[in-house]
């Protein structure tokens, strides 16, 4: 079935070529990083995680969001989602792969990554994150590929696939919960030390992931003619809307607890992000942009006339994804390090090398997604014919 990814139009190959170029650039930047050390990034002693971990956090959410199509289709037999499931599952595969690459890019000694397996540490959340992410990748790849293969042969999928698909549902929740637990259990970082972090991660993931899924189905419609269907897109939009509402509600509760309680440690993180702290305010415009984009997206999604108009739906989805990308990435990860445990403020600035590596990893994810979707779309088109 993979051979279907090796046949394509001129535009298809141009796209692959462009992605390969980006991957090459990213690889080159990564080797510079390997040689000179992580000093080539914007990270430092006070802000010890940056763009890579921010991207990791965002894409774990995107990966988990596949559950938003798996549940309605497999658990509740909502036939409208039939053509979106494969897209969602393959998106989860690509996103999980990107997460793992971002972790590798961020590590000081990636040559020692197997130490996590050689010396398992169940008390460490990173250990569990590695386990569940790898498991999720395998589960989604195997189940999606098998179901697709069965469709191609015109037979029902084998019986063993069903339990694996059902397993992917709680597993999706677990990958993002474990990722939230990476942050939410650290006593020294008060922006993260909140029980609401895991539910917020899930809500923002479901909002951003489903919006991204809508966009991908629209891109597929435009480039290949494969249409997942407007009904599916509208249902996804509804899911994104309410997930988005939950996310912003939880941000609101964070603000309340911090500012009503007046506890400095709780307030400082949000103050730095949204209002500036001690004159340092580099992230303030980003955070307000994120809120603006998010609320704007919700306003569009709540309006049925706009939601049904393709142009406005696209704008809403782009807005939602960008808003949560800023919130989870820029806001959450960088904000956690300000102020430092010694109440000092160091601001983070991204470097070109860092951006190039990130671009390369994005390109790897998009390439994997392209190849997998090419197979999926070809198979589905053959079946329709």
């Amino acid at each position: 079935m993979i051979e279907k990814a090796l046949k394509g139009s001129r535009n298809y190959w141009l796209w692959i070529g462009l992605l390969l170029l980006c991957i090459g650039a990213g690889f080159s930047a990564f080797s510079r990083q390997m040689w000179e050390g992580l000093t080539v990034t914007g990270m430092g002693r006070d802000v010890s995680w940056g763009l890579y971990i921010a991207q990791f956090t965002f894409f774990v959410g995107v990966a988990a969001s596949a559950v938003m199509v798996v549940i309605p289709y497999y658990l509740h037999n909502q036939k409208a989602f039939a053509k979106t499931v494969i897209v969602g599952e393959f998106m989860a595969v690509a996103a999980t792969l990107m997460c793992m690459l971002f972790i590798l890019a961020d590590m000081g000694r990636p040559d020692r990554v197997l130490n996590v397996l050689l010396y398992p540490s169940p008390h460490a959340m990173v250990f569990w994150d590695v386990m569940v992410l790898n498991g999720y990748l395998v589960i989604n790849l195997v189940s999606a590929w098998t179901v697709l293969g069965a469709e191609r042969k015109g037979v029902p999928p084998p019986a063993w696939v069903k339990p694996i698909i059902y397993l992917s549902i709680p597993w999706a929740f677990s990958i993002h919960t474990v990722t939230a637990f990476l942050y939410a259990g650290l006593p020294g970082r008060h922006l993260w030390l909140t029980a609401v972090l895991a539910p917020r991660f899930l809500a923002s993931a479901f909002a951003a992931g489903t919006s991204l899924l809508i966009l991908v189905t629209l891109i597929l419609k435009k480039t290949t003619g494969f249409d997942a269907g407007n009904e599916a897109r509208q249902k996804l939009a509804v899911l994104a809307t309410y997930a988005g509402v939950a996310n912003f509600f939880m941000i609101g509760t964070e603000f309340f607890t911090a500012f009503y309680s007046n506890v400095p440690a709780h307030m400082h993180g949000l103050q730095y992000l949204f209002f500036g702290l001690e004159g340092k305010s580099a992230l303030v415009p980003w955070m307000w942009l994120s809120l603006l984009l998010g609320f704007g997206a919700l306003a569009i999604l709540f309006n049925p006339k706009l939601r049904h108009t393709s142009k406005w739906l696209v704008a809403a989805c782009v807005g939602m994804v960008s808003s949560i990308w800023i919130d989870k990435g820029v806001g959450l990860v960088l904000g956690g390090f300000v102020p430092s445990p010694l109440e000092e403020i160091t601001e983070y600035g991204v470097t070109l090398t860092e951006l190039t590596v990130t671009l390369g990893i994005w390109a790897v994810g998009i390439l994997v997604l392209t190849l997998l979707l090419k197979v999926a779309v070809t198979v589905k088109k053959e079946q329709e014919a």
Partner: protein, 258 residues
């Protein structure tokens, strides 16, 4: 593709993988003789000693940084001249930075204008060792929170977990930042986390930590917290002391006399 060909390739693939896997497991072990390391001598009793430090900040003067210099020289801690790549095991800071959760209101200028030395607290319940995915950082039998630089994968989770900002990362090759190399202790390599180790290599020789020895005012007292007769315990019982962020439940081993 032909069905028979496909199933053959599948079976051959699995067979090759299984073969390589078992070969990798069996052959090296068969070719090397077992090393015989007789006797587990002197394995230390966990919890018998608990090293701790008492810092009498009243004796600490503003201009002196002997403790920092001694530590950083002895352990080949690099200096790159910029805050971003900074590596420090012990440093001087101010009252509001070292004790941010203590009262900042109407403190006497004698207290707030003094320098305060900050270092790894070697907590009894360290959040950093909980966070480490490879147990490269772990709490030793004698209370010291130790780093195994050979195992560290550089994920910097421990840095995020430490509520005291005690840990530094080697963002670049440390050897480029060391002017005089001491031979008493190795350097570290690019990509691993490091921090104060309570001079465990000196304790083994019966010496005090480098900072304790270097302080001209003897402001640093080091000893066994589990020994009620030790100097540090006697001082703790007779003087009022303070710790950094005790509300977090980390149970630090470093005490301050204000």
């Amino acid at each position: 593709m032909n069905e028979d060909r496909r199933s053959f390739i599948k079976k051959a693939g699995i067979g090759i993988l299984a073969g390589i896997g078992s070969a990798a497991g069996l052959f090296p072990a068969l070719s090397l003789e077992k090393t015989v390391l007789p006797a587990w001598d002197e394995k230390p009793e966990p919890g018998k000693h608990r090293w701790g430090m008492l810092i009498d900040t009243r004796k600490c003067s503003g201009n002196c940084s002997e403790c920092v210099a001694a530590c950083h020289f002895t352990h080949n801690v690099p200096d790159f001249g910029n805050r971003k790549d900074e590596v420090k095991w012990i440093w001087k800071s101010s009252y509001e930075n070292v004790f941010p959760t203590a009262s900042q209101q109407f403190q006497s200028p004698g207290v707030t204008e003094r320098p305060y030395v900050a270092l790894c607290n070697h907590c009894a319940e360290p959040p950093c060792t909980k966070a480490c995915p490879t147990e490269a950082t772990f709490r030793r039998w004698d209370g010291i929170v130790s780093m195994d630089y050979h195992r560290c994968i550089g994920c910097r989770f421990c840095m995020a977990a430490c509520p005291y900002g005690s840990r530094s990362f080697n963002w670049r090759d440390p050897r480029e930042g060391i002017k005089l190399a001491s031979t008493e202790y190795p350097t570290r390599m690019q990509g691993v986390v490091e921090k104060c180790n309570f001079c465990s290599e000196r304790l083994v020789k019966g010496l005090d930590p480098a900072c304790v020895e270097a302080c001209p005012e003897q402001a640093l007292v080091f000893g066994d917290l589990n020994d009620p007769g030790s100097e540090i315990r006697k001082l703790l019982e007779s003087t009022e002391t303070m710790q950094r962020k005790p509300e977090l439940g980390t149970k630090p081993s470093v005490f301050y006399i204000i």
